[in-house]
C-alpha cells in the first residue's frame, strides 16, 4: 500500500501549502475587511456603458 503514503505526502504538501497561504492571507490583512471587496467588483465597468444600457431588445 505504499501508494497511499505517496498520496498522503502529496495531500499534506498541498494542504500545507494552502495552510501557509492561509496564514499569510490572514496575517497580511486580506480578510480585515469582509464587505468592501464584494461591492468593489461591481464597479469596474466603463462609466458610459452601464449594465442597464445593455438590456436586450
Amino acid at each position: 500500500m505504499s501508494a497511499i503514503y505517496v498520496l498522503m505526502l502529496a495531500g499534506l504538501a498541498v494542504a500545507g501549502t494552502f495552510m501557509l497561504v492561509f496564514l499569510w492571507s490572514v496575517k497580511s490583512g486580506q480578510y480585515d475587511d469582509d464587505i468592501t471587496p464584494s461591492i468593489r467588483i461591481l464597479f469596474d465597468e466603463e462609466p458610459e456603458k452601464k449594465a442597464d444600457e445593455l438590456k436586450s431588445g
Partner: protein, 717 residues
C-alpha cells in the same frame, strides 16, 4: 463612495491600462465549439447503447473509444476553456491590472487547443493509457503539464502585480485549482513509455487504483468545481448587480472546501481491496464536504434575496440559479453515495452516470451558458441578439437535463435491484446479466433524447451568440484606471517591507514544491516496485501473448463497460465467483477495475466459456447473447498482432518490477507463438479457421487467463 476610497485614495495618481478582451473572446469561442463537439459525441455514445449498429463496426467509432473522447472533450475542452474564458475576463478586472503577459495568454490559448486536437485524434485511434479521465498518452500529458503551468504562471504573476491589496475570492478559487490540478496530473500520469503512443502506468493494481481515484475525485473537485465556484463568485454578483450574500462565507467556503476535498478520494473504492481505515477516512471527509459545498450554494442563491423578480426577467440569472441548484443537488448526493450502504447500491450502475451529469449538464453547462450570454453583449458592445431564443435555450436545456437524469436514476435503481434479487430457493432471480441490461434500453433511449434536447439548446445558443457578435464589433481592448498600490504614501513602506519579508518565504515554499514533485517523480517508481511483491503465490506474470491481449483490451476501452472487481457480496460471488483479492492485481499496469457495469464483471471470466465462444462473441456479440448491446469487434479477427513490440513490453514490465527472468524478452515471441498455436488449435477443433498472429487470439488468451491464478492455489493440480 467611502468604501471606494479605502483602496483608491483619490490623492494618488491614477494609472491607465487596458484589459485584453480578444483572449476572452477566443477562449469563449473555443468553449462553444468544443462543447458542441463533446456533447455530440456524448449523444452518439448514448444512442450506441440503444442501437449497437451506431458503432458502425469501425474501431474509431466504437463505444470504448468514443466514451473517453466524450469525457475528455467535455471535461478538458468544454469546461477547461470555460474556466479560462471566465478567468481571463474576471481576474484582470478584480485585480485591476492587465494579464501579466499577452504572450503567455496566447501560448496558453493555442497550446490548450492543440492538446484538444491531439486528444481528438489519438483517442479514436486507440492510443490510451487506460485510466479514466486520464486516458491521454504521455506526450500529450507532458504538453498538458507545460501549458497548464503557463496558465498558472500568467495568473499568479497577474495576482502579484495587482493594483488592489485585496485578492477577491474568485481569484483564490482559480489559484487553488491550478496548483492542485498540476500536482494531481503529474502524480497520476507517471508512466513508463515503450513508444510514442504506448506507455504503462508505473503503479500496479490496487496502487494504481488508489492513485487513479485520488486523481479522479480531485479532478472533479479542482477541475469541475473550484474553477467554476470562482466563476460563480464573479459572474453571479455581476449579473445580479448586487454583492455576494456574505463575503465572509465565501472565505470560509473556500478554505474549508479545499482543505477537505483532497482527502475524500477513497470513496470511489469502497468494498475493494483498499484498507478499511482508508475507506472510512474517505467516507468521513466526504460527509464533511457537505458543509462547505452547501455553504457555497446558499451563498450563491441568497445573493438573489429580494431580487428574485430579476430572475423572472433575466435569462442569465435563470441559467445561473439552475446551475447553483444543480451544484447543491450533486454535492448532497456525493456525500450520500459515499456512505458504504448507499454506495453498495449505486456503484457500477447508471445512478453514478445520472449523478455526474447533474453536475456536468446542470452546474458546469448552465453556468457556462449564463456566463456566455452575459459576456457576449459586453465583448461586442451590443445587446443580446434574441432574449427569446435564450429563454428557449434555457427551457429546452432544463427539460433535457430532466430527460437525462430521471431515466438514469431509475435505470440505476432497477438494475441494482435486479442484480441482487434472489429467489426463495436462494438462487439469483436474474442469473443472466443480459436480462438486467435489456431492461434498461428504454431508459437509455430516453437519456439519448434528453442529451439531444440539451444539444439542440446549445445550437440555439451558438446562433444567438454569433448573431450578437455580427451585429456589433469586438471591443478588443478596454481601458481602465486604478491607482498603483506601491505608490500609496504611508502604506508604501509597509507594503514593501511585507513584500520583501515574504518573498524568501514564498521562494522557499515554491522551491520546496518543485523539489517535492521532482523527487516524487524519481522516487515513486522505485518504491512502488518494491511493493509489487505478490502476496498470493499462485499469481504469476502474464505470458507475452496475454500481455499483448491485455493491451488490446486497454486499447479498445473495454473498461468503459466492464469492471474487473468482484465485490464481497453474496449476489456478486454467486454471479461471478470468488471476490477479488488485492494480490491478484500486482502485475496489472494499469489496473482495469472499471467504474461502470454496462456489461458484466470480467474478473472471473477466465475459463468460463470456450475459446470459440469468445471468437464468435467478438465477431458478433448477438450470436452468443441474443439482444446484447455490445459492439462487434470484427477487425480483431483480421488485424495482424504487432509482435515487434513484445520485447520492449517485457523489458518495460521488468523495469516496473514484474519478475520475468533475465533475457526473457529474447524468447518472448517464441513463447507467444506457441501459446497462440494452442488457441488456434482449440478454435480449429470448434470449426474456426484463423492464424496465430491475429489480434483476436491474443485477446482470447488474456480473457481466458483473467482471474484464474487463484484457482490454481485452490487446486494445486
Amino acid at each position: 463612495m467611502e468604501i471606494f476610497n479605502k483602496t483608491n485614495t483619490p490623492s494618488l495618481a491614477l494609472e491607465e491600462f487596458e484589459y485584453d478582451n480578444k483572449i476572452v473572446r477566443n477562449f469563449a469561442l473555443a468553449t462553444v465549439i468544443w462543447g458542441g463537439v463533446g456533447m455530440l459525441v456524448g449523444v452518439l455514445a448514448a444512442f450506441q447503447l440503444v442501437y449497437p449498429e451506431l458503432n458502425f463496426n469501425l474501431p474509431f467509432t466504437t463505444f470504448g473509444r468514443i466514451r473517453p473522447l466524450h469525457t475528455n472533450a467535455v471535461i478538458f475542452a468544454f469546461v477547461g476553456n470555460g474556466f479560462f474564458t471566465g478567468m481571463y475576463y474576471a481576474a484582470p478586472r478584480v485585480l485591476r491590472t492587465p494579464m501579466y503577459s499577452q504572450l503567455l495568454s496566447k501560448i496558453h490559448f493555442w497550446g490548450w487547443q492543440l492538446i484538444i486536437v491531439m486528444a481528438a485524434i489519438s483517442l479514436p485511434l486507440g492510443w490510451t493509457s487506460g485510466k479514466e479521465y486520464a486516458e491521454l498518452e504521455w506526450p500529450i500529458d507532458i504538453a498538458i503539464a507545460v501549458v497548464w503551468v503557463i496558465g498558472m504562471l500568467n495568473l499568479i504573476m497577474t495576482t502579484i502585480k495587482r493594483r488592489t491589496e485585496h485578492i477577491y475570492a474568485a481569484v483564490w478559487f482559480f489559484i487553488a485549482s491550478y496548483v492542485t490540478v498540476a500536482l494531481l496530473h503529474v502524480i497520476n500520469s507517471i508512466n513508463l513509455p515503450i513508444s510514442l503512443t504506448k506507455s504503462y502506468s508505473v503503479y500496479a493494481g490496487v496502487q494504481d487504483a488508489l492513485v487513479q481515484w485520488w486523481y479522479g475525485h480531485n479532478a472533479v473537485a479542482f477541475f469541475l468545481t473550484t474553477p467554476y465556484l470562482g466563476l460563480m463568485y464573479y459572474f453571479l454578483p455581476k449579473a445580479a448587480n448586487r454583492p455576494i450574500y456574505s463575503y465572509r462565507l465565501s472565505i470560509v467556503h473556500f478554505w474549508t472546501l479545499i482543505f477537505i476535498y483532497i482527502w475524500a478520494g477513497p470513496h470511489h473504492l469502497l468494498y475493494t481491496a483498499l484498507p478499511d481505515w482508508a475507506q472510512s477516512l474517505g467516507t468521513v471527509f466526504s460527509i464533511m464536504l457537505l458543509a462547505p459545498s452547501w455553504g457555497g450554494m446558499i451563498n450563491g442563491l441568497m445573493t438573489l434575496r429580494g431580487a428574485w423578480d430579476k430572475v423572472r426577467d433575466d435569462v442569465v440569472l435563470k441559467f445561473m440559479v439552475v446551475a447553483v441548484t444543480a451544484y447543491g443537488m450533486a454535492t448532497f448526493e456525493g456525500p450520500m453515495l459515499s456512505l458504504k450502504n448507499v454506495n453498495a447500491i449505486g456503484h457500477y450502475t447508471d445512478w453514478i452516470v445520472a449523478h455526474v451529469h447533474v453536475g456536468a449538464l446542470g452546474w458546469n453547462g448552465f453556468l457556462t451558458f449564463g456566463m456566455l450570454y452575459w459576456l457576449f453583449p459586453r465583448l461586442y458592445k451590443r445587446p443580446l441578439y434574441s432574449k427569446k431564443l435564450a429563454n428557449l435555450h434555457f427551457w429546452i436545456g432544463t427539460i433535457g437535463i430532466l430527460f437525462y437524469a430521471i431515466p438514469m436514476y431509475w435505470a440505476g435503481w432497477v438494475q441494482s435491484a435486479m442484480w441482487r434479487e434472489f429467489t426463495e430457493d436462494g438462487f439469483l432471480k436474474y442469473p443472466n446479466f443480459l436480462e438486467t441490461v435489456t431492461q434498461l434500453i428504454p431508459f437509455y433511449a430516453l437519456r439519448g433524447i434528453g442529451g439531444t434536447l440539451y444539444l439542440f439548446g446549445w445550437g440555439l445558443m451558438i446562433y444567438n451568440l454569433l448573431k450578437t457578435a455580427q451585429a456589433g464589433s469586438l471591443k478588443e481592448v478596454e481601458k481602465a484606471q486604478a491607482a498603483n498600490m506601491t505608490h500609496q504614501t504611508h502604506q508604501n513602506e509597509y507594503w514593501h517591507r511585507k513584500w520583501f519579508e515574504r518573498k524568501p518565504v514564498l521562494l522557499t515554499v515554491g522551491s520546496l514544491i518543485v523539489v517535492a514533485i521532482g523527487g516524487m517523480v524519481e522516487m515513486i517508481p522505485t518504491f512502488m516496485i518494491q511493493s509489487n511483491i505478490p502476496t498470493i503465490e499462485s499469481v504469476k506474470p502474464y505470458t507475452p501473448l496475454e500481455l499483448q491481449g491485455r493491451d488490446i483490451y486497454v486499447r479498445e476501452g473495454c473498461y468503459t463497460c466492464h469492471s474487473q472487481m468482484v465485490r464481497p457480496f453474496r449476489d456478486e460471488i454467486e454471479r461471478y465467483g470468488e471476490y477479488s483479492k488485492a494480490g491478484e492485481f500486482v502485475y496489472d499496469h494499469p489496473f482495469q477495475w472499471g467504474s461502470k457495469r454496462t456489461g458484466p464483471d470480467l474478473h472471473r471470466v477466465g475459463g468460463k466459456y470456450p475459446d470459440s465462444w469468445h471468437y464468435n462473441h467478438m465477431e458478433d456479440p448477438t450470436s452468443m447473447s441474443p439482444g446484447s448491446i455490445m459492439p462487434a469487434y470484427p477487425w480483431l479477427l483480421e488485424h495482424e498482432l504487432d509482435t515487434t513490440t513484445t520485447a520492449a513490453k517485457i523489458k518495460a514490465m521488468q523495469i516496473l518490477g514484474v519478475p520475468y527472468e533475465k533475457g526473457y524478452e529474447q524468447v518472448a515471441n517464441q513463447e507467444l507463438i506457441e501459446q497462440a498455436n494452442g488457441v488456434v488449435k482449440r478454435l480449429a477443433d470448434a470449426g474456426i479457421e484463423t492464424e496465430p498472429t491475429r489480434e483476436i487470439v491474443a485477446l482470447i488468451a488474456y480473457l481466458q487467463r483473467l482471474g484464474t491464478d487463484i484457482k490454481a492455489e485452490n487446486n494445486p493440480n
